[in-house]
Symmetry: C2
């Protein structure tokens, strides 16, 4: 895939033998059919099979896998729960797929320091579940939080509905432990707010498994808010809903979440889970306020009044916790709901300045006509983090081509209006061609140099995340159907 010459049968047999000896046969998956669960992440457009899948159960075993792979000079692709949507953890055909899902122990919850120290494979939601007994929780909440691992969250610098108020993964970390490609231990960050030296923890966060393999994460916990209210507002146009997003922020309120769904998404969600959204609206906003009882009451009144003035055609505050949960269920089920409308969907992740929301959504609607592919929009409106879902049929090569070209146009547009090609999903394999639209030569060269500082042989997750200009195999290595040259 990266122009790397194929590993010899003999070399492969030796590598396999070594890993079997170190990990035992229950922790190594060799045959192709058993490897299928690991062939792709949640972007099944891209799939491949590795030399083998390693399933270490301890950090010591992870270290061994890395040391052996280093000795054999083969690629290693680390994988958490495989919920990523950019093919970032797709296996390398000449390398080892290092699954970290068995490292799922919660090591320590400290209610006084308000921290949780957990192994890399622990799911995002499991942290909050373990902290609940102390009235604490972990704030970043990707839609996949029931499954996605904290190590994967670090790799992608994941966001979520609540990141508008509480920040991304990088804002909620205190320390990480990681292993270099040679298997050396790194301890980054500290129990304090800041650390000396370059901020390697922040550098690791969002680095998509290219720099080192995270084995342990210490996160900040927050007190569960006393109260939360959800305001639902329907609008007759996407522009009116977009303007309302700006108005709420401009009113000096930071909602705990501020999400938008467009008409196609609303219909899909209602058909799927009956969340109670107004079917006649062109766009729906969900605005959550949290804090003390009084603060929430005041902000709910302010937001409701504002949305009314701005022409909301529907305006409703969730009556109780059950209704609030149902309204959120609709949002959280939006991806699978839209997934029922077509054989496949392609989720983009451009992030734009809030003031550009209406303009960019209108442009996306025009592009949808141009490419003759429907698009459903459901996204973190408060953050300006778009998630257009382009509907297509992966069984039709022409539709794959069109969907990818449409997606690329959205990303270029995001950069043009001052935003970025990804808000929280990462670059992976999917967006690597858009990196030169985002960055100039100087930045791309620094990316390469930093990669080389950690991983000079380019064995960690090769071909993902950053284009290696000096080599340029990555592009050639893309499966032919994804190349547009």
């Amino acid at each position: 895939m990266t122009g790397r010459s194929a590993i010899s049968a003999q070399h492969r047999a030796l590598l396999t033998e070594r890993l079997l000896a170190c990990l035992g046969k229950d922790n190594i998956v060799l045959d192709v059919e058993s490897q299928r669960p690991w062939e792709c992440d949640a972007l099944p457009l891209y799939r491949d099979l590795p030399l083998l899948v390693a399933l270490p159960a301890t950090v010591a075993q992870v270290k061994t896998v890395l040391q052996v792979c280093h000795e054999f000079d083969v690629p290693v692709v680390a994988r958490g729960a495989g919920t990523g949507v950019t093919a970032g953890s797709m296996p390398h055909p000449e390398g080892v797929l290092l699954s970290l899902s068995r490292l799922d122990r919660i090591l320590d919850i400290d209610p006084l320091a308000r921290t949780a120290r957990v192994e890399t494979g622990v799911s995002n939601l499991a942290i909050s579940a373990a902290a609940a007994q102390y009235g604490l929780y972990y704030a970043p909440d990707p839609s996949s939080q029931i499954a996605c691992s904290i190590g994967g969250n670090v790799a992608a610098n994941s966001g979520g509905v609540h990141c508008l108020k509480y920040g991304l993964t990088t804002h909620n970390l205190l320390a990480i432990k990681a292993l270099t490609v040679e298997g050396e231990e790194l301890a980054l960050g500290s129990a304090g707010l800041d650390s000396p030296g370059y901020d390697l923890m922040a550098l690791m966060t969002g680095s998509e498994g290219l720099l080192a393999v995270v084995t342990e994460v210490t996160v900040k916990l927050l007190p569960v808010p006393q109260a939360a209210k959800l305001v639902l507002a329907g609008f007759d146009s996407v522009r009116a809903a977009s303007d309302a997003v700006g108005a709420i922020i401009a009113a000096g309120i930071i909602p705990a979440g501020l999400e938008m769904l467009d008409r196609l998404t609303i219909q899909a969600v209602e058909d799927y889970v009956n969340a109670g959204y107004p079917r006649d609206a062109e766009a729906v906003l969900l605005c959550e306020l949290d804090g003390t009882e009084e603060e929430v009451a005041e902000h709910t009144a302010t937001v409701s009044a504002l949305l009314g003035e701005l022409g909301a055609s529907t305006l409703h505050v969730a009556r109780d916790e059950a209704e609030r949960a149902l309204l959120w269920k609709g949002r959280k089920a939006a991806f699978p709901a839209v997934g029922r409308l077509a054989p496949d969907y392609y989720c983009m992740d451009g992030t734009i300045p809030r003031a550009q929301l209406a303009h960019v959504l209108e442009q996306i609607a025009l592009l949808s006509k141009e490419y003759a592919l429907p698009v459903a929009n459901v996204f973190h409106a408060g953050d300006g983090n778009l998630h257009p879902l382009i509907l297509f049929d992966a069984g039709n090569p022409e539709e794959i081509r069109k969907a990818e070209a449409f997606g690329a146009r959205i990303l270029t547009l995001s950069v043009e209006v001052g935003g970025s090609i990804t808000g929280e999903h990462g670059v992976g394999l999917e967006k690597i061609r858009q990196m030169p639209a985002q960055f100039g030569e100087a930045e791309l060269l620094l990316f390469e140099e930093i990669k080389a500082a950690f991983d000079p042989a380019l064995n960690l997750n090769p071909g993902k995340g950053i284009p290696i200009l000096k080599r340029c195999q990555e592009y050639r290595a893309l499966p032919a159907r994804h190349r547009h040259d």
Copy 2:
């Protein structure tokens, strides 16, 4: 200082001539007496004079200075307001001191996006002043905020009283523009919450001028809280005050600020500004609550009740804004107040887990006796970010030696209890010897490699921030791929 051989008189004359031609004589300071204002930062224990001081007024001029210095292969030390306390911007005797104080324009305030885009030399407080008309402010608030520059805040990843609730500089940035040592432009971050590629903006933040020169910063602004209340509590022991810090946090409250002052500091402050602290207390806590009126009222009641239960000997809520300002004035004047007690003080900056507060303060008291040097403690207790001020006389070489040894013991102790050698002040020249106490070989080697990726000739602020272990023969003996010469 870095073993660099002295620049020849001819080379120096040529360099000076080129910079004079590019910047004009009003923007270059050559004679020694005129250079005195730049010979040290706020840690006057370390001082030196540069080849020359350059005072560019535009980014284009900064670029020229860097290009010329790169051509002449001379060190460049970038300096904001010179308020740092680790000798991080002390001039290099063989290099150019690049003052950025004339880049002080506020370029844009966007109330909808809640951002401010400013030049690097703009003072921290000037950002909030400019944003005030929109009801917004910039949250991180170093004690030196009236003077310190935003570029310096980025270099140090500065904190402040309000960082417990609102985060450090790194948590409040959206984008930066910088120039590499060669004068190439870097654009890092974006108007969106996240960016693809490695997080070079986070890497730059706290990098102490070693990687590139920041020229422009886009920060997040926050709505000015509706209300704020300050609770003052006196305690009969440092341990009781320390325990109260943990109890407030454990009660699920995140104060906007939670500061502690010990007996010596209280006396010094009262003698200096009459802030109204209880002179008979062994320790004082200042706990600020902010938010909506109702939230603040509720939290103030909770905190007051808690502090009463925990044995506060004095308990008082500031009656009005005037008294709140006076109580804060005492905290903000604590350094100069303590400065009146001895010819000099040496401020440490270790950060420790909150649970270790009482233990570490007791150890510091014992060390104070061992070294026969008084110490005053005034610090960000909620963050566990200590600021012990060791009193000594810099006119007495033995006292300098003792003060530095005492300081080193505090830093080692901070690391031993799971904390770090610096919370917000950076490493500079002062703490570079403690870096191996904090980091292992693997991390230190990565720091070096990252430095080399940005600045292979080690010309940006050499000798500061990170120890360069592998220069000279060892470095030259490295395989070519690790060498950047």
